[in-house]
Symmetry: C2
Subunit: 492 residues, 2 copies
């Protein structure tokens, strides 16, 4: 069918084309079907949306993802991409072959799947699970489509935490310990998605975090380590696209999680990776055995890929450290590196560094590297290499001005500090958009409190945001205080 194409901007990242209802009927295509558009011998495939008013009969609205298409074009119905069949196969609970998984990954990368198909993919692997073989194929396929780093070293270390624990800012402490031990660790981290700070947000308080792959290579060559934002180096571009279909239902299918993490480590050229799986009420994984199982899954898939994975589990029933939010967490990091700071954060970082060095077969003492100040020195080297001030002090890290302490309304013992509520509270206060916003925790689980004792303090840039956060605190009980008796037995 001959149509006249013109560009139209509807704010989509997909290769969408808009057809008038009558033309769609004539072509026999429905919303989300594909059409092939040919002009001057070149052909592109568009995903159909149907409208009665936005485009007139005889015309075709073309979005920018399809490139520059203007004037008379020939439009015909086109088949669905091959990978749609494999998505359906997974919904039928049949195991996918390596080339079928590769086809899905490539089509996601090239934006060839619409939202319905992408969601069906995520739903299918969530509902029906993935075998080790499928997860390995997925990891390889995801690693294939991004950039890949390689290093001359036999051992290149890396670390990942499954997340879900507020304030858990281990990486900026662990990376300098490993680097100071003489082992390369090209660490990429995420920005916050639903939390008040990702490691990349916290590091952005000290220095730049957006670098190209050659820049990342230079930083690691110079210092052995880096702490950069993964999104800027594009090691696993498919991941960001899948998130669109994971977020609305908060789905995090295990096979996809493992493939997302390990494909990035594999692409970073890492050979030895420690995986931290926090577990407990309010963490991503509820129970200890479930956490161990997930760790084992990581290890098995790592074996297939030739990446040595050291799985670790850790209690995740309360936040780690004192500060929540980029600046407040940055202060904890600097304090721990300086020999002070929250004990839980120091112990966890040191222990994970010890296990990682052990897995790497490197004879170095993580505790000594931290206590001697060599890790702090290395951290300041990395900050300098990433364009920050190596002489930064706690005094340079200023939290937001508006503050309010929340106190205990009864005497008792702290029985639980909920990661999800604490995170939501930090976001209400303005983090990570306002780096100085967030909260500091004054108590840990198990601490005794008297009525009126401070539980935590909220920091925000405006009184509006402060009030928003306090209203949530009032409603949702981020820090649970119970009498000794209630703490022993909970009524359901």
């Amino acid at each position: 069918m001959e149509l006249v194409a013109s560009e139209i901007d509807i704010g989509t990242h997909l290769p969408t084309v808009l057809l008038n209802g009558g033309d769609a009927e004539e072509l026999g295509v429905h919303p989300l079907d594909r059409v092939q558009i040919t002009t001057d011998g070149t052909t592109v495939i568009g995903i159909v949306e149907v409208t009665e008013e936005l485009v007139a009969p005889g015309t075709l609205g073309v979005t920018r993802r399809l490139g520059h298409v203007e004037g008379p074009v020939d439009v015909t119905a086109a088949p669905k991409p091959r990978s749609v069949r494999y998505v359906r196969k997974k919904l039928d609970d049949r195991e996918l072959e390596a080339d079928e998984i590769r086809a899905i990954v490539r089509d996601i990368e090239a934006d060839r799947l619409n939202d319905v198909e992408l969601s069906a993919y995520v739903s299918g692997i969530y509902s029906n699970g993935m075998s080790d073989a499928e997860t390995t194929h997925l990891t390889e396929a995801m690693a294939e489509v991004g950039e890949r780093l390689s290093w001359p070293d036999e051992v290149v270390a890396d670390k990942h935490s499954i997340g879900g624990v507020a304030g858990n800012r281990v990486s900026p402490i662990l990376v300098p310990i490993i680097a100071a031990a003489g082992v390369k660790i090209p660490k990429t981290s995420s920005r916050a998605v639903t939390s008040p700070a990702g490691t990349a947000d916290t590091m952005a308080v000290f220095c730049d975090v957006e670098f190209s792959i050659p820049e990342l290579r230079d930083i690691v060559e110079e210092t052995n380590g880096c702490l950069v934002w993964g999104g800027s180096v594009d090691l696993s571009p498919v991941d960001d696209k899948i998130i669109r279909a994971e977020n609305p239902l908060s789905l995090d299918p295990t096979g996809q999680l493992i493939a997302s993490v390990l494909s990035k480590k594999y692409s970073a050229g890492s050979t030895h990776v420690i995986i931290d799986v926090p577990y407990g009420e309010g963490a991503k994984v509820d129970g200890h055995s479930e956490a161990r199982e997930l760790g084992d899954d990581f290890e098995r898939v790592g074996d297939h890929l030739g990446v040595r994975v050291a799985p670790a589990v850790s209690p995740g029933h309360e936040p780690i450290g004192r500060g929540i939010g980029p600046v407040l967490e940055a202060r904890d990091v600097l304090a721990v590196l300086g020999g002070d700071g929250p004990e839980d954060l120091r112990l966890k970082s040191e222990r994970l560094a010890y296990l990682l060095l052990d897995a790497c077969g490197v004879d170095a003492d993580a505790g000594e590297l931290l206590d001697s100040g060599r890790a702090e020195e290395k951290f300041r080297e990395i900050v300098a290499a990433q364009g920050g001030d190596p002489d930064v002090t706690a005094g340079d890290l200023t939290p937001a001005e508006e503050r309010a302490a929340v106190t205990a309304d009864r005497a008792g013992v702290v029985t639980h500090i909920d990661n999800r509520i604490v995170s939501e509270l930090g976001r209400r206060a303005g983090a990570p958009k306002d780096p100085g916003a967030g909260l500091t925790l004054a108590r840990h689980v198990g601490d005794e409190v008297a009525t009126g004792d401070e539980l935590f303090t909220v920091y925000a840039e405006t009184t509006g945001k402060l009030d928003d956060a306090l209203a949530l605190a009032d409603r949702a009980e981020p820090v649970r205080v119970r009498s000794r008796e209630e703490a022993m037995v909970e009524r359901i």
Copy 2:
């Protein structure tokens, strides 16, 4: 957050709002999240898309589904609708309660779910199935949101075929038989989605098919029957919305299928329904036992609803009748009613009418009603009541002008006529958009043919469409001819 709203048309049916990237970050919302928009004391919920260029920072693009929203508005992040949790519950393979299913159906009806969530719903019930209780709740919930008819009669008949069989135009023959027997049958039918003709498309050759509910009531009061397009009476509005997520992966989850069919029958006020499940190679259901099972499922869910379902299975390994396409099928219908026409179509219609009358407990002879011409008389009454010409003859029904016969390239026996390929061929020829387009089959499965014998003839309005259809016929073998030996044993 204060933003300035202006209307923007991006051709979506959802309550989408467009935010600039920076504003979305400030609000802490991601694509497909919700925001609450307040202006002058009224509040609406929008589904977020994020763009860097289409809307400027500080502004909000509002699509028409949200009504007229202009000028300064207050925008805050809003939670997901409650039903999203239930969709996830189904992905976790947990059984849904009645009120949870009702919440999903209402949110779909009100366009509150985005494509990702809608697809996850369809994927979940496809992958994990639905219990009888769930299917019953779904049927009731779907019936609740549309219009509902009620009749003074104790017995109101209805009929549905699962579809997938080309040319299977039973309803225009069965409905007049039942109506002539004195039983009301308020039949609604669909237009073609992926086939060359639905019953509504075929009836549109004779008369109007789009009526309001009061008009439908008048037609049935006058004639006992009707043959109208279901889309115009809005008996199950949710159905059309779910199709958007079913089409891309060609998913047709059993529970959803049963609920879609029975909710329409329930809303039409029908008490006794015959369900025809064709089975065989090329039909929707492959095997006989699978077809029986589906029929039984319909019967059980019907029992819960208080609708008596008479399930029937029928061979669906080849098309029924001679013509494929609106006009060509209309000619078959008129011929059968006139005592002539394709024998398979006559037998199937008569048999289903017999079974339906039997289920209704009505003592009437379907064969006699057809042979005596009383069914034809009733058909012409209905055509007249629907604004058509009651004296229509075969001569008034003119197929498309461009024609080409396809002949056997070898001698042998017809072993298979593929419904899917035949349907695709009819669509390539222009049906249902061109009512006279399609094909006529000259042979049935089991017929012997000599080289050069006609297998079928294609009809199209233009030579381009004719060539398109013939090219497919050349490639895809809609009518399979094999030697006697090959017909006995197929090599795989």
